[in-house]
């Protein structure tokens, strides 16, 4: 199966990328065990290949290869500035990779194929592909001029083209799921941070993405509000329908929810594997050091 | 259509009036600076009547056209024995109009001085005059200097209005040339370009000033820390 996958990449991209996939294999061998066997049966839904990103002289991602499988829940951990947030932002098309390719469900994200060659994608192409992706931000970014119901229903109406009734029905179902169905008429300014983040989760879910990105969803919250948001995310994770990429500093949460943990440092994936292996038997010095620092800092978020 | 010969012929005549435009701008700005400060103080006065009259004055001047105010100064005051030259009338008229704007700028600056500064000055037993002169105003004016610079540029662009009270500045000269030769295209276009160059270079200057003040300000803050 893995062989097959690789062939497809090679055939899609040019010759140069053939080497990319070979290197990927090396990476996997060198760094960690392969992910769970059951997920190996299927094609990854997201595939990063040799992805680099620089801001000026600062290279935040260095030729990263990374696969995410349908329904898989991956927690991304690592020190701040390690490039983990950039990973998510590239996939959400908020930043453009400096080099490398990202595939979503078999389609190139940042490139499109013209006569067998990859050319930079235009807005139209991005629009088509990014419909599979949803994102929850650290600072929620609710629309302050819309009430809660409107916040959650505006995109289904405008982007998916649903009728107002249908969209609001869907929105209410989602708001119910995150426990916010009693605040439909409220405005974001009148909600607590935890409530705002739950609405933001509903707003992303209502678009029914295949991949959900959570970018430090509890980092901006007061400690007493973290729990309610994590509970909602756990519940969604338990449904197991979407692939999830959780960027987080909440280690115990990561251990509970994720199928796989990916440890980032200085723009590279240093180590990845099952939660029990990562947390109980980290192989690299850097991960050991990182986890130790975390125990010392305790509950810092 | 466009005659370069004519352009070069009238260029010296227009340049001759350039300094009138510039000096009218600077003089009017000086009036506005001083007038603005007076209005700002009068507005703060604890003497209610003075404060209220000042407020009404500011509101009235700001809401009515400067052109009409110039007419009042130039055509009405002589009937009460005060005849002013077009230049003086223009400088006073524009100066008074913009003093109402600058009084707001001063007010914002004064409000931005932290309370602790007032209390410290009181604690050091400064007289009210000393307090204003040495503690409050230096701190109040510094952050609003760029805003004042912008008003200087706004006033520059208002000076063509002075041609309406017969002052022969840039636009006035262009009009005279136009009515004598029946060629308006070149002189008025040139005047527009003059203003573009003047206001553009002035705005560059203000931006540079703003940057320098920021640096100085930070330097001062560091020294204080």
């Amino acid at each position: 199966m893995r062989r097959l996958k690789r062939n497809r990449v090679g055939h899609l991209i040019s010759k140069g990328s053939e080497r990319v996939s070979e290197m990927t294999e090396n990476n996997h061998v060198a760094v960690a065990e392969a992910p769970q066997s059951n997920q190996e049966q299927t094609e990854p839904i997201v595939r990063y290949r040799k992805v680099s990103k620089s801001f000026g002289d600062n290279q935040v991602l260095k030729e990263v290869d990374f696969d995410l499988y349908p329904g898989e829940r991956v927690a991304v951990i690592g020190p701040s500035g390690s490039g983990k947030t950039t990973m998510a932002r590239l996939l959400m098309t908020l930043e453009k990779p400096t080099s490398g390719t990202i595939e979503v469900d078999g389609r190139q994200l940042w490139h499109k194929e013209v006569k067998g060659k990859l050319v930079p994608a235009d807005e139209k192409h991005l629009h088509e592909v990014r419909g599979d992706i949803g994102m929850v931000f650290q600072h929620f970014h609710l629309f302050p001029h819309m009430n809660i119901l409107k916040n959650v229903s505006v995109a289904p109406i405008k982007v998916l083209g649903l009728s107002k009734e249908e969209a609001e029905e869907r929105a209410k179902t989602m708001l119910d799921k995150v426990g916010m169905s009693d605040k439909l008429e409220a405005y974001p300014a009148n909600l607590s941070g935890g409530q705002q983040q739950r609405v933001a989760i509903a707003r992303a879910l209502v678009m029914r993405p295949k991949v959900m990105l959570f970018d430090e969803p509890t980092s901006a919250l007061d400690p007493e509000l973290v729990g309610e948001v994590l509970d909602v995310i756990k519940e969604i994770a338990a449904e197991g329908e979407m692939a999830m990429m959780l960027i987080t500093h909440e280690m115990s949460f990561a251990r509970d929810v994720a199928d796989r943990i990916v440890f980032f440092d200085e723009g590279r994936i240093i180590e990845q594997g099952r939660p029990e292996q990562i947390f109980t038997a980290p192989k690299t010095d850097r991960l050991q050091e990182f986890l130790k620092r975390f125990e010392l800092n305790g509950s810092s978020s | 259509m466009w005659s370069w010969d004519f352009t070069f012929k009238i260029l010296p005549q227009l340049l001759d009036t350039l300094w009138i435009t510039i000096s009218a701008t600077i003089a009017a700005f000086a009036v506005a600076m001083i007038g603005g400060l007076i209005l700002a103080f009068a507005r703060r006065s604890t003497f209610r009547l003075l404060s209220w009259v000042t407020y009404a004055f500011i509101e009235f001047i700001r809401t009515t056209p400067p052109l009409v105010q110039l007419y009042v100064i130039f055509y009405v005051l002589p009937r009460y024995g005060l005849s002013l030259s077009p230049f003086t009338a223009g400088v006073i008229g524009l100066g008074i109009h913009y003093s109402t704007y600058l009084s707001e700028v001063y007010r914002a600056g004064i409000d931005s001085v932290p309370r602790g500064q007032w209390e410290a000055a009181t604690a050091l037993n400064f007289s009210p005059l000393q307090k204003w002169k040495t503690i409050i105003l230096p701190q109040a004016i510094r952050p609003v200097v760029p805003v004042m610079g912008n008003y200087l540029i706004v006033m520059l662009k208002e000076t063509p209005m002075l041609s309406a009270i017969t002052l022969v500045e840039l636009l006035g000269r262009a009009q005279i040339i136009g009515s004598n030769t029946f060629r308006y295209l070149e002189p008025i276009t040139l005047v527009g370009l003059f203003f573009l160059v003047l206001s553009y270079s002035a705005s560059r200057l203000v931006i540079r000033l703003e940057k320098r003040m920021n640096i100085n300000h930070h330097g001062k803050m560091d020294a204080a820390a």
């Binding site: 959400m92 908020l94 807005e123 990014r130 992706i133 949803g134 994102m135 931000f137 600072h139 970014h141 609710l142 629309f143 302050p144 001029h145 505006v154 995109a155 405008k158 982007v159 405005y187 300014a189 933001a200 707003r203 992303a204 678009m207 | 259509m1 509101e59 009235f60 700001r62 809401t63 009515t64 056209p65 400067p66 052109l67 009409v68 105010q69 007419y71 009042v72 055509y75 009405v76 009937r79 009460y80 662009k157 063509p160 209005m161 041609s163 309406a164 636009l171 009009q175 136009g178 060629r183 308006y184 295209l185 008025i188 276009t189 005047v191 527009g192 203003f195 573009l196 206001s199 553009y200």
Partner: protein, 234 residues
Amino acid sequence: MFLRTSLYYQAFDGGVIPISVYAQIFPQLLEGAFVTIQLLILSAILGFLLSFLGGIGRLSRIDPIRWISGFFVEFLRGTSLLVQLFWLFYALPLLGIKLAPGLAGILALSLNYGAYGSEVVRGAIQSIPKGQTEAAIALNMTPRQQMWHVILPQAFRTMLPSFGNLFIELLKGTALVSLITIPDMTFEASAMRTNIEANTPEIFTLLLLMYFVIGYPLTLATRWLERRFSVGRL
């Protein structure tokens, strides 16, 4: 109106002036007031539209659009309104384009204030946090939808007080059109001054008051908008 004869004298600045003078001046100024108000409303509407055109144009991702709108805005802001007015009225006909005075007036006013307005629009749009655009992208909105449903509704609240201020400036600016023979309030006043010179003080006093009566409600409305929208983000 019979009072005109009985209420013959009224104190004015220490002098004594027949009140009937005002009755004579007022109707003519009122005629001019209608012209002033028409100019104000038409230029405001056109200027408002130009503000959005210029402001959004300067933020365009397409380079030529950004350059052209930047050039126009800076050009119109850098040259003086009265110079622009004279240029349209005196110079443009020599290039073969003759505009009616009213049209020249409206065009100059709306272009000039539209240029200032586009800076208001640009500033307000730029003041919306980047996260709002990012959230809209994450919901897969098109650039047009991002602007229309997310950015502009929020930016518009920030713009309102500044637009109010510009509206008052525009009112004052309309007085300049009297210099290109448009019979607005100031034009009527100037015309009367040459006819009945003795009454110059009354003419201009009444003129100032009339501008104040039109303008002050605008000032108050602007203050109200400022208070309303600075209290909190809703």
